[in-house]
Each structure stands twice: as C-alpha cells, then as structure tokens.
C-alpha cells in the first residue's frame, strides 16, 4: 500500500488546492455579485458586514471560505428567505466580532448533506447565540479583557486577544455539538466535561495548555448550564 500513497496524496492535494485557487483575491464587488445571485433583501447590512470582514481580514476573517459558502448557497435550490437567514447568521457574527469559522463549517456540512435550508439557518442562529453567550462568559470571568495589558507570560490575569478566536470557536462549537447530540442543557457537569475534553485534546497544538487551564479555573458547570439556556431562550 505504501507505493500508492504518493498518488493519493497528490489527488487529495489537488482537490484541496482547487478550493483555494478558485477565489484567490475576493473583493467587495465579488461579494456583491454573489449576494445578488442569491438574492437577499438586507443587502446593505450584509455588504457593510462583509466590507468590515474584508478590512479586518488580517485578523482571522476567512474571506475566501465565506465567499465560497455564498457561491454554494447561490447555486443550491431553495427559498431566498431561508438562504438569507444563513447569510444573516454569518453577517451577525462578523458584526459582533465573533469568529465565523465554526459557523462556516456547519453551513458547508449542512449543504453537503443536503439538509433543508430552514433548519440549517436555525441551527446556525443557535450556534451564533452559543458563541455570543460564551464570549460574554469569558469577559465576565476575566478570561479575556477588552484591553488586557501587555503581559503574555504564564500567570497573566487574562488571555491575549490572539487566543480569542481559537478558544471561543472551539468552546462554542463543543456546546453546539453537545446539544445537537441530544444532550440536556441542565446537565452542567456533562457539558463541562465535554468542553474540557475538547479543549484538552487541542491543548499543546492550537491552544496552549496554560490557556486551557486558566479557562477551567474560572468557570463552573453551572456557568455552562446558564450559557446553554440563554442561547436556547
């Protein structure tokens, strides 16, 4: 089997590279065209958000991925209002400064599985609320602060903004997975264990171990029950 691995690798690389090449440098006009093809009603609001996204692309906004999602939405059959609900979930995330990668991933998966657009939009809205509630929990526990000072060493009282997207994205995503797997919002300890497991698996790679430790030293299972309930409200 070893002998054929290079061929498979080349094929896989070609498939993944094709995603990147198709939309190398996306502009605001490109977004405008693809939105017109969907089409959407709240165009001004969405365009303002994408303009904001493009201007802050230095800091984590996945421009090409977002554009490709819109392309797929435009191509798929379904009601424009349902498509717009999906676009608005992404729009709101950009407006609120929330990382959009986990939302994009769910949207891509839903489209690939041919999930009806209305429940897909509702699921994204729920995930957005989980992210927002998680973010507010982080701030209220001092895990992140708006202006965290200059120290980056272990033992800092708050994490640096560069950790924000990775941590929040995985945290919110773990809560979403828990709920969608049929978990009860009232089982705080179970939710806590699930999120803890997820972040621990990633510590040492995309998250640092001390960051993960700091998060769990400041939150309790009951906090997570409240986050989930607030997002379901």
């Amino acid at each position: 089997m070893r002998g054929r691995r290079p061929i498979a690798l080349v094929a896989a690389l070609a498939c993944i590279a094709a995603l990147g090449i198709a939309t190398a440098a996306v502009t605001l006009d490109d977004f405008g065209r693809v939105l017109a093809a969907i089409p959407i009603v709240n165009e001004a609001r969405v365009m303002a958000a994408f303009e904001l996204g493009l201007k802050s692309s230095c800091c984590g906004f996945p421009v090409s991925e977002t554009y490709r999602l819109l392309e797929r939405l435009a191509a798929v059959s379904g009601s424009a209002a349902d498509k717009e609900a999906i676009v608005l979930a992404i729009t709101q995330a950009i407006e609120q400064g929330i990382p959009v990668d986990s939302l994009l991933n769910k949207a891509f998966e839903g489209l690939a599985r041919a999930v009806p657009l209305a429940p897909l939009g509702q699921l994204l809205e729920q995930r957005l609320r989980l992210l927002l509630e998680s973010r507010d929990l982080f701030y209220s526990r001092g895990i992140f602060r708006a202006s965290p000072g200059a120290s980056v060493a272990a033992g800092a009282t708050a994490l640096q903004p560069s950790q924000f997207d990775g941590l929040l994205s995985n945290f919110g995503d773990a809560l979403g997975d828990y709920l969608e797997s049929g978990g009860s919002p009232f089982e705080g300890q179970q939710i806590y264990d699930g999120v803890h497991e997820r972040l621990t698996q990633l510590s040492g790679t995309v998250l640092t171990t001390s960051d993960v430790d700091l998060v769990f030293s400041r939150i309790e299972p009951t906090d997570l029950t409240q986050v989930v309930l607030a997002a379901l409200r």
């Binding site: 800091c59 609120q96 708006a146 903004p161």
Partner: protein, 182 residues
C-alpha cells in the same frame, strides 16, 4: 455668569431659552464630541460640521432629555447617529471622502520620537474600519465605560469589548509590520 454653574442648572436654563447657558454646555463638551466625530469620520472639517450639528440637534431635542441620564452619553449618542448618517452619505457620494491628515507632524527633520510614534498610531488608527476605530476612541479618548460605549453605538457590551481588543490587535499588527516589514 454660567462658568460656575453646575450642569443641571445650565440645562434647565437652556430649556428656558437661555442660549448662553447652552453656549457654556457646548464649551464644556465640544472637545469630547469633536474627538468622537473625528474618530468616526477621520476628516477634521466633517467632524467640526457634525459637532456643530450635534449641539444644535441636542438643543432642539432638549425637552426629551431625561435629566437623570448622563448628559454626555446622550449628546454622544446624537453625535454618533449624525456621524453614521454622514458616513452613509459618503458611501453614496464617494468623491466627498477625504483622508484625514494632520499637517505639520510629518516633517522627519522636526519630528521627535514621541510625535513619530503618534504619527504611526494615527495612520494605523485611520486605516481601521470605523466599527473598530470608534469604540477605541470612545474608550481611550472619551474615557467611557463599555456599557456607555455600547449604548452610544447601539451594540452589546460584549461586542464593544471584542471590538476594542480586536481593534487593538489590528493596530499592533500594523505597527509591528511597519517596524519590521519583512
């Protein structure tokens, strides 16, 4: 005669038609309102126009102002709304957009280190999207709380915090890149 009066007395006097009392209010708040407008618009002439209009609008709406609310937050909210309108207008009339430049500080021979740093920060700040720039201005120039900033910009407090820390991260990245372009 108005110099020593407290804010509530001045507002009451203004409501009774004493424009001079309103003049004193303008004097006390004009820098803060102008700083906010400059943060939104990046253009001094526009910022002055809107500061002027904000005080006019605040005056004609003064009867709606609840004296128990913080006056600064109220007048900032009016100014922020006017700035947003101006930005919307500019979007539809792109010729009107003028980059904000500060004359006199870019002469390298005369620029001392502190001014140089300020020029770099100003340039970086001006290239931030306004959604990220204005919370920074309200926080670091107007010294407002996150809650007040959220009220003025009509965004949740958590979003204010995120925009401030993202805005700072973007600034840092731009400043670092400038220092080390490689």
């Amino acid at each position: 005669m108005y110099r020593t009066q407290d804010e509530v007395s001045l507002l009451r006097a203004s409501l009774e038609g004493e424009t001079a009392a309103w003049g004193e209010i303008v004097m006390r708040y004009k820098d803060a309102v102008f700083g906010l407008c400059l943060g939104f618009l990046r253009n001094r002439a526009d910022a002055e126009d809107i500061t002027h209009d904000a005080f006019i609008r605040a005056y004609v709406n003064l009867r709606r102002y609840n004296l128990e609310r913080k006056f600064s937050t109220w007048v900032f909210t009016i100014a922020a709304n006017l700035c947003r309108n101006r930005l919307r207008y500019r979007r539809n009339h792109p010729v009107m957009e003028v980059d904000f430049e500060l004359e006199g500080s870019a002469d390298p021979a005369r620029t001392v280190a502190r001014e140089e740093r300020q020029v770099r920060v100003r340039t970086a700040l001006n290239s931030l999207p306004y959604a990220y720039r204005t919370p920074l201005v309200l926080r670091f120039y107007n010294d407002l709380s996150y809650k007040e900033i959220g009220d003025i910009l009509a965004i949740p407090e958590g979003t204010v915090k995120t925009r401030i820390h993202r805005g700072k991260a973007m600034l840092k990245e731009m400043l670092d890149k400038e220092r080390d372009p490689s």
